[in-house]
Symmetry: C2
């Protein structure tokens, strides 16, 4: 096994025991990138010399934190001190800000090595797509907007990477790339230094190749380790086909059923969860909030670089959907009303929600990134979501589900995900 094929947790353990150096690990990741990225195209900026220099420094220094020596990919809508931040927009093609986003500063302060910037849908929003291909089939999208981060982790180029989610930009690529992904509760991780699209929706999260790795990154953000060991037996699982079930594809339906059956066989108690009627309108509220808040976010580019701004971002500034102030405020009110109702489901009668991570397998072509319809509601609810792979679909592409918890229950949700992962992810993706 190459060092680049190690999970973050395994690599961290070996580094701690001095059985693996940061430099060896980074060189292995760089080798993988050199071998594969001409085709996968996950990365926008990598600096091998800088990476090796930083690795040597980490090898010499005492451990700085839980991520010591671990290479990290950063979606290029997130600022870093040592790379450009282009947002995959021609407007910012040569932009360097020289300051880490909050999430990058926390990861670096915990010992992570920023390996480079990964490709993204323009502004993590709309416009230019990433050039990244799905590592399982280059003719398919890896999903988006966290396209490069998802593919880089799936293709063993880096054990951990940051992404962001406003609609379904974290969990959907995790499902399409057969990896694990975490969207924390809103604002548990500071969004400072991350391109803003919608302040109510944008959420920073991360990818790893096992649930343990998601918890490792969470620890850096002081999402505490959930000490109590959780057994799958007896866990009450709400199987939520969600209000948008009509959008499911056969592969997604099969994956959800398989996950439920596997959990049930291990003693989990599966119950169909039907959300209250008014949750059906959350998708519409998401659209209204995304449109109007996007209008405020993209006004600078609209004024200063109008012709270089994608038409649907221009449309947001112009409020082309004609979302009135009253409708915007009603959308906020609906989300505000649903959040505590959803949280209250947990506790006495429910431990975790099991729901699709994406409609199905990654679609063919790089002109689109798939549909975020199974993610938007959870983003607006501000609840933590963990993507878990289920196996492969009919065309041998990965399929995935997500586990959802109540707001601020991130630690417990990760503990449940760690318990459930070996059960759900019964067809693990192995290194090539």
């Amino acid at each position: 096994m190459q060092p680049c094929q190690l999970t973050a947790s395994a690599a961290a353990g070996l580094i701690k025991e001095r059985k693996l150096s940061c430099e060896e690990l980074v060189r292995s990741c760089l080798g993988r990138i050199q071998m594969r990225d001409g085709e996968v195209r996950a990365w926008l900026h990598v600096d091998p010399e800088l990476a090796i220099r930083n690795a040597r420094e980490l090898d010499k220094s005492s451990p700085r934190g839980v991520l010591h020596g671990l290479p990290l990919g950063v979606k290029d809508v997130i600022d870093t001190a040592d790379f450009p931040t282009t947002q995959n927009s021609p407007i910012y093609a040569s932009m360097r800000v020289g300051r880490d986003a909050a999430c990058v500063a926390v990861a670096r302060g915990s010992g992570a090595l920023v390996l480079g910037k990964t490709d993204t849908v323009e502004f993590a929003s709309s416009g230019r797509k990433a050039l990244t291909r799905n590592p399982f089939n280059f003719a398919h999208t890896p999903g988006g907007s966290s396209s490069g981060s998802g593919a880089a982790v799936a293709d063993f180029m880096v054990p951990l990477a940051f992404g962001t989610q406003t609609g379904g930009s974290l969990i959907r690529p995790a499902a399409f790339n057969g990896i694990y992904g975490m969207k924390p509760s809103w604002n548990v991780v500071s969004r400072e230094g991350v391109r803003m699209s919608s302040v109510t929706l944008d959420t920073v999260g991360w990818y790893g190749r096992c649930a343990e790795d998601l918890a490792l990154m969470a620890a850096a953000f002081r999402i505490p380790d959930f000490r109590q060991t959780i057994a799958v037996r007896g866990l009450r699982v709400g199987l939520c086909r969600s209000p948008v079930w009509s959008k499911i594809e056969p592969a997604g339906a099969t994956a959800l059923d398989a996950a439920a059956k596997r959990l049930s066989a291990e003693g989990a108690l599966i119950d169909e969860l039907v959300l209250p009627e008014h949750f059906n309108r959350l998708i519409e509220a998401h659209a209204a909030i995304s449109h109007r808040e996007g209008g405020a976010s993209f006004l600078p580019e609209y004024l200063n670089a109008h012709d270089m701004l994608a038409e649907d971002l221009q449309a947001k500034v112009e409020n082309a959907l004609n979302i009135s102030d009253a409708e915007l405020l009603q959308s906020y009110a609906l989300a505000d009303a649903c959040r505590p109702v959803f949280d209250a489901l947990f506790g006495s009668s429910l431990d975790v929600v099991l729901t699709p991570g994406a409609p199905g397998e990654a679609p063919a072509g790089l002109h689109g990134t798939g549909d975020s319809i199974f993610n938007r509601m959870w983003t607006l609810l501000h609840v933590p979501c963990v993507a878990v792979p289920v196996g492969r679909g009919p065309t041998r592409l990965p399929v995935g589900v997500q586990l959802v918890g109540s707001r601020m229950s991130d630690a417990r949700l990760l503990a449940i995900a760690r318990a459930m992962a070996p059960v759900i992810d019964a067809d693990p993706i192995s290194g090539e």
Copy 2:
């Protein structure tokens, strides 16, 4: 009259008519800064040569927007492409980011000339105070955290300036400096590129020396001009002593009464407004949200520059107040519940709320910046607030009130403020 003494609206008119050049205006502002800032200390960074160069370019170019040629001060927690952004923290003493915050990009895209960065309380939050003094009496604070922006506008160094408010950092300095200030509805102006303290509370706003100037800046942000002329006569004013009336000082009480009497004499209908009981808990909710969200915001500095971070910001990261997740969520729920209730007061029975802008006159000394107690509730409610000066208090320092509207009624509130300003602000502050 010196050009620097002109209001932004008057200067914009003269520039448009080619009776004043941007260069003349900027030179006048720079002259004022040179004469006065050794004592006022409003500015952290000014570059006269760059300013004059930029002014000459604006003089040569066709009008770029409503702010064409107007010098602008920017609070130093807000990023600009051409100055350091130090946040008044030793951690970022030499930080330059090379990219405009969204609000700065919009102002620049509308023709404004960024004159420099103004002093601020460290991180607009806590720690080091600005060195700025109140221009009316150097032994007194100008308020904070937008200390430099408030003093610079009051002292005729610049006609417009950006500030931010998380507690009372915009409206309180406006009251203490005898100027006008606008805190828009939450997220009407993008907060991107502004130091984050609390994502739910932080709001970008601005200062001017008349209500008209506030509307001028609002136009740059596409807060539409409210076409209908509003007459003071018949306006229904809710006189809100607020749940924290016990904190009022004699000067603040006198100012509020004077404003109400002057409006009443002009035919406005003044009615005491007592908010529902549960609004009393908003101050507590503000504290809980500010503490917990600050914990996420200051984790990067806590990890990477621990000893240079103020103790009360360390305390937020450590959740020293022990605010539980449940208490945080209850605080969100309370605010979520109060917002539509407050909005619903308007329309059939109320046009505007009149309430104190600060407890009274600016306190003596530069070790503190005064109390934000009369501002926090409105910040958490996400409602637009406009600071209006009333005159001078017993020690000849300015006192002010604020007008408050429902969420997203920014345009109408500005129109009401423009109608009421000549009535309320009957002892206008004149140039020296």
